[in-house]
Amino acid sequence: MKATRTIFLILILILFLPPAAKATTALETVRKNVNQVLEILRDPSRKAQFAKEIKEDRIRPIFKEMFDDVELSKRTLGRNWSVLKPNQQEEFVTLFRRILENAYADKILSYKNEEVVFDRESMIGPNRAEVYTRVITSSKQIPVVYRVILKDGTWRVYDVVIENVSLVQNYRSQFNDILSKDTPEKLLEIMRNKLREKKS
């Protein structure tokens, strides 16, 4: 009797421990960040005229914590990263982060009334993981995968894959196209203009 019970207990432990042990912080980090952003977006006390700017100001520090902007920039430019001079690289990182913030905020803003489900994470390298989430709307489910990298003990996002389309890859194709015809300076100028037109 005792033996059976012990076996049963061991069975239970074997069955349930691996997933529990695997549930490390990648998923939790993404969940925390996304929920923080959603909370700000859903905040009903900010319906004022300038609500959008206020919300963006509050979201920005979370983004800074959430995304690894240098990693993102390097991966997006790929081989072209080294074509840029150090000061250009610096400006690129700043500009690109702001463009991404806008893009991501727009996208997540349209999801603010929807439920976000955090499904699972899977390791894709010694220090990289993918966090699978779904945005559930009344008519469809949109798979959103966050690719995260562990640096200095923190998981940071370096790519977002929405409906199977990787943001980094998508921007990379655009930057490559521009850099194949124009100089890095021209690219930075295009990006500056992009942000300016967004402001107005």
């Binding site: 069955l15 893009a103 990289r128 008519s139 194709s173 992009k194």
Partner: protein, 268 residues
Amino acid sequence: MKRVPLIFLLITAFWMMGLSTLTWAESPKDPSPPPTAEEMEDEYKDEEPLTIPDPLEPFNRAMFTFNDKLYFWVLKPIAQGYGEVVPETARVGVNRFFNNLGFPIRFINCLLQGKFKGALSEFGRFTINTVWGIGGLLDPAGDEDINLKAYHEDLGRTLASYGIGHGIFIMWPVLGPSSLRDTVGSAGDLFLNPVSYVEPWYAGEAIKGYDKVNEVSLRIGDYESLKEAAIDPYIAVRNAYIQYRKQAGGRQGFITPPAKEKNIEGKP
């Protein structure tokens, strides 16, 4: 008496074991198998994004502008007006109905790719949703207790599974982004689409147009945000198209060449 709870426990344990192996076995397929570390490493080692030859770029860009205007000036206002009048639940139902009608396309293409599990799942979905889902307006087969997955296969993907590449990128007026291969595929799929057999021909076209407006009414904002986020919207759409087509094909066990033996740690 004392035996009973133990038996219960054992049964529960076995049941849970079965259940958890089941979920373990299934979870990697949902929603997509995680690429192996080697694949990821490869993806970032090669610095080029997925590309597609685009010799028609000037024409394609002109068509992109045309489609852009068509969307903002015609399609979107119509879809918005329609969305004002018809409640969302009804529009979701209509969308499901047309999806259900597209069953022959998915079923035949699953078979053509040798995906018998997919064909079976599609067959089950069609039967259940047609009979209990009021002709496909509801999706009882997708409920959690039945949970039959849809396999969005089409002829373009079948051709891809036979090793045929995209060819060149084509931006069709009205129809939108495609490739040489997928254009051939879509043309072939027309024969499997029941709506194509509606007489007279313009009635069939009207039905397709309605399906399109209904679909757009559920997706308003998607194109806008893509365009808003893009530095060059044309390139963004082109790249999103090939990414979507590639990964959606890879989602259900698309044959990928075995990754080369590589050390993840980056040692030679």
